[in-house]
Amino acid sequence: MSVRKWARIRSPWLIHFNTGGCNGCDIEFVAAITPRFDVERFGIKLQGSPRHADVLGVTGPITMQITKRLVRIYRQMPEPKFVVAIGTCATSGGPFKDCYSVHGGVDTVIPVDVYIPGCPPKPEAIIYGIAKLLNKLSGSGSGGEDNGGHTQKT
């Protein structure tokens, strides 16, 4: 495993973005950084600025109004970047999939690397999902726009 890859797996910084969810997923996501679950164990840090982040955690069905902002935040993140859809809403639109102001899952707008179903997923389930993402990074599997750091623009 190259040093780069090692470093990437060990230091996934997250940014969290609510795209119209009901807060359920958001509070569970925040609960994952608190003492009981403490995702800093994995080197995960919550970032405020998309420029600093590696992983975008999206909660909620994509409302029409938020779409542009979501895409903008995604663009502002430097490569390599990954997207985690947290909750059923972000996975498929969930209970709101038929509402006319909603796009549906995150993958209708930006590529997603890991889906975490649950309404809301327990913090444990979120950690499990992130572990799955890290697993995927260390293995050969690549999805979404992950180009494994091979296409570094400098």
């Binding site: 609510n18 509070i27 009981r36 409302t63």
Partner: protein, 371 residues
């Protein structure tokens, strides 16, 4: 300190101080806010329209997902409103179980909020402690209902799960522990100078304004107005349980914090009392599938204040109109008022002060043409 003449400072939609995307446009003179224009709608999922498309039972789950923080308040209000349409008598044991869940939810929501307020003030350690202790409540709710956040315990005509006597004992034990911890943190909040400096005298909402701007919940009570739907318009079993309505005369963010802390202690008392007086019997009665034309208003004291639902049935299995007014919309006018004249650095504190949850405010469609 001055950043120049009047400039416009956007706040949101993605901003770390807001857990949810909302947008405020501030006009700032130097360091002082002179004008606020809110632009909500980023979380609009069109739920009110969606209510008209689904059956009453399915709508229960939609109502639950109006908001994840006080999901139980929404389902309680929903069931109360729909049972008012039929009308349906809910068995007393179910009423008590609903009430216990509602108070547990208030505990989780208030401790979440006090944590967020501390975090907003840069007081991360207290945030961590509060959220650590909040896990106790989450565990209880998970054990009773099967999920930490969306409990899905209410159903039209009763509740879906019972509270066993072991669970009741466990709840009582946890309540004692939690109450002791809350008292400890209250002492911290009352004496920590850096926190007091950020909250005392910040975001003043005078009682007169609080009434005329229709503020609700802890925001209203922190301005010294004694109003609580639980006491004024008792639903569930609140009429049978003795409890105090907490008020505070501070009118500032500090007062809102203290009101919420004291309400937590009060909630713990209510839960203990309710568990001791839990009636025996059935936990649900079957509801009819279709509902004759009628109309009904339900009110619930959600953790953030008065929540009001209005339903109108038309004889089918689906409602004709369903209206939700969540507490945050009720408080929006008052928070815009209190923001005027505030320091830029205080904006997050004041906004957090009403415990905003925009997800329940933006009910209806928001659609971007070029989306």
């Amino acid at each position: 300190m001055s950043y120049g003449s009047t400039i416009k400072v956007p706040f949101g939609p993605q901003h770390p101080a807001l857990k949810e995307p909302e947008y405020f446009l501030f006009e700032v003179d130097g360091d002082i806010v002179v004008k606020v224009t809110p632009r909500i709608g980023y979380v609009h999922r069109g739920v009110e329209k969606a209510f008209e498309q689904e059956t009453y039972l399915h709508n229960l789950y939609l109502a639950e997902r109006i908001c994840g923080i006080c999901s139980h308040a929404h389902t309680t209000c929903y069931t109360q409103t729909v049972e008012g349409l039929i009308p349906l008598e809910v068995p007393p044991r179910a009423v008590y179980i609903r009430l216990i869940m509602a108070e547990l939810e208030r505990l989780h929501s208030h401790s979440l909020w006090v944590g967020i307020a501390a975090h907003e003030a840069g007081f991360d350690t207290l945030f961590m402690y509060l959220w650590r202790d909040r896990e106790m409540i989450m565990d209880l709710m998970e054990e009773i209902s099967g999920n930490r956040v969306t409990h899905a315990i209410n159903t039209i005509g009763g509740v879906r799960r019972d509270i066993t006597s072991e669970q009741a004992n466990k709840i009582k034990k946890f309540m004692d522990k939690f109450e002791a911890n809350v008292k400890e943190y209250m002492k911290v909040l009352e004496t920590e100078q850096t926190f007091l400096k950020r909250t005392k005298g910040v975001g003043i909402l005078k009682p007169r304004d609080a009434i005329s701007l229709c503020a609700v919940g802890p925001t209203l009570r922190a301005s010294g107005i004694k109003s609580d739907v639980r006491a004024d318009d008792p639903y569930l079993a609140y009429g049978e349980i003795p409890f105090n309505v907490i008020t505070h005369d501070g009118c500032d963010v500090y007062a809102r914090t203290i009101v919420r802390c004291e309400e937590m202690i009060e909630s713990a008392n209510i839960i203990r009392y309710a568990l001791d007086h839990l009636p025996e019997g059935k936990i649900k009665v079957p509801p009819p599938r279709t509902i004759a034309p009628n109309e009904s208003v339900g009110r619930v004291e959600a953790p953030r204040g008065e929540l009001i639902h209005y339903a109108r049935s038309n004889g089918t299995a689906k409602p004709e109109r369903y209206k939700v007014r969540a507490p945050t919309l009720g408080n929006l006018a008052s928070v815009c008022q209190t923001l005027i004249g505030a320091h830029v650095a205080d904006i997050p504190m004041i906004l957090a002060g009403i415990d905003p949850c925009f997800s329940c405010m933006d009910r209806v469609v928001i659609i971007n043409k070029d989306a």
